[in-house]
């Protein structure tokens, strides 16, 4: 394959990564924005989404379409409820102290991961995609002064991958509508701006926190259900989404939803492209160092106002 089609393929894969990452990272950004705590167990909620999707689709049996649709509806709800429960039983008790919350969520990370290992086992298991038609992509090239169309071998995507990208866009639009157009969104934004003042105005801050934490985890689980027909479900799969979401949330400016989505696009696309052309380990080294240096030198994110 020539360089052009190769790059095109990398961009297609990058767009898929970006779509899933935007969902996962917006969950993390929502939790950080509203509650001012860092949820280190976020990646495990993602993993739980994938594992539960496998479980639900096994239970449903029959055609993969129904199993998948059922998983799509039920799994984010289940994970969200679990996260809200964690919030009410653990995080509330330590009064959302930022440092202790990190330590506690590290503990939750290991609990979720290891319980999955004990019940689901160490195997990676696939979920059948509901539809998966191969779509070959054309490539245009100028030769002898005329535009030629041809179909390079290997330059293709699947209908399911395109559908994931579309679904991610729809969910993100829905999230935007929820935050800006509904009463719940208003309450969350009020809590985000000033917790004490929100309490003084009679906003049930505790319940808003539980909902925000559940919603954040639910978004991660939704992203996982969407990606699990492409990647398999495995108990250690939470590490990479956590790292990437961290990168995205920090570069996009801590707690800012639009910033996170923009950064997800940037990171997802560059991750796809860099991993195709360079060693993935090298790409990760640069990404982690980038996060560290952004936090050290631009603590409000690359686009945030620098008022430190």
């Amino acid at each position: 394959m020539d360089f052009g089609p190769y790059l095109m393929l990398a961009i297609m894969e990058g767009a898929l990564t970006a779509a899933v990452l935007a969902l996962t990272a917006s969950g993390l950004a929502l939790v950080f924005g509203v509650m001012r705590v860092v949820n280190v167990a976020h990646g495990e909620f993602f993993m739980l989404g994938a594992v539960l999707a496998w479980w639900v689709s096994q239970l449903a049996g029959g055609s993969p379409v129904w199993g998948f649709l059922l998983a799509l509806c039920v799994v984010p709800l289940l994970v969200g409820l679990l996260a809200a429960f964690v919030d009410m039983t653990i995080l509330k008790r330590i009064n959302y102290d930022p440092e202790r919350t990190i330590v506690a969520t590290i503990g939750i990370l290991y609990i979720l991961q290891q319980v999955t290992l004990m019940t689901y086992g160490p195997e990676a298991r696939p979920v059948a995609p509901p539809f998966n038609a191969r779509i070959a992509l054309p490539w245009f090239e100028m030769s002898d002064g005329a535009l030629q169309v041809y179909w390079p071998w290997g330059l293709s995507t699947t209908s399911y991958k395109l559908c994931v990208i579309g679904a991610a866009c729809v969910v993100l639009l829905g999230l935007w509508a929820l935050m800006t157009k509904t009463k719940l969104g208003l309450l969350m934004r009020a809590t985000e701006q000033d917790r004490e003042m929100a309490l003084a105005f009679g906003i049930p801050v505790q319940r808003v926190y539980a909902i925000a934490f559940g919603l954040g985890a639910g978004l991660a689980a939704l992203a996982a259900v969407l990606i699990v027909p492409i990647q398999q479900a495995h108990y250690l799969m939470g590490g990479d989404p956590l790292l990437l979401s961290f990168i995205v949330v920090i570069i996009g400016g801590l707690g800012s939803l639009p910033g996170a989505i923009l950064a997800a696009l940037l990171i997802g696309l560059s991750d796809g492209i860099i991993s195709v052309f360079f060693s993935p380990t090298l790409a990760k080294i640069f990404a982690t160092l980038l996060v560290a240096f952004v936090l050290v030198f631009r603590p409000n994110g690359l686009w945030g106002a620098n008022n430190s």
């Binding site: 590290i106 939750i108 004990m118 982690t288 160092l289 560290a292 603590p299």
Partner: protein
Amino acid sequence: MTTDLKKSVILHAGVVLALFVLQFVLPAYHHGNMARIMVLASYAIGYNLLFGYTGLLSLGHALFFAAGLYGAGLAMSQFGLSAGPALVVGVVAGVVIGAVVGGLALRTEGVAFMIVTLMFAQAGYLTILYFGAYTRGDEGFVIEQAERVLLGADLSDPLMRYFAAFSLFCAAIFTCFLAVKSRFGRVLVAIRENEERASMLGYDVAKYKLGAVVLSAGLSALAGAGYALLFGYVGASFASVQYSIFPLLWVLLGGAGTVLGPLVGTVFMFYLIDLSSGLTTAYMLIAGVALVVLTVFAPHGVMGEVRRRMWRWLP
């Protein structure tokens, strides 16, 4: 000498003496375990200097431990150094990396400090994997028994190994005790309690914090280098996030900001994980539950509670 100081000197000397005597009564299996625990507890003591006394929570101490481990290990396997100089190389590597990481990470505070240290450690771990040709990545490499000789003592011999681990632990706990009782240590505690006030009183807070990071990194690297020499294995898993979480867990359990806390926490957690790994492969579950229970119910840890309820003089 005040009575409080006398009491704490007697207590710590007693604990050290008990550890020394223990080697003559322990059965072989626990004998080996105790040697390992003393090395890991030295690592926890290094961690505690930063977390317990200075109030800086690092999530990247595996980087310093691994700096010592790989500094010593690679010096022996790649450059053919003998054990003594290799130990020095390991500690120097830890101190240098500590100074660089500390200099950068201390520009941030609180949650950002935790994430920056985590990211630096992660980058270090990935770097070890990337240079797999020399480090052999996850698989790691073994240091030959013939090379593990320090001052004429064969460190692979169980008795010698116990004694070496004991010496390492003594060095760590003595350093910690001295540091805590010194003017330097008191300033660190002042920074932990109220950084702005310490700075208002005229202390150069940034300098003291950097000093704490470097000292902590140096002790962690010493433990790492000791681990490489004593147990002859160097692997990337010691640089992973898990080994940054472990010292935090040990210190939290034993009691942050107490000299003996790291030892108590390490012994307790080591045996808890040792017992549970016999039952299930999911032994990290214990660590997770312990972290949650400790943060929610017992933020002071074992020795912290002892200090709060009985011995207020405990350093």
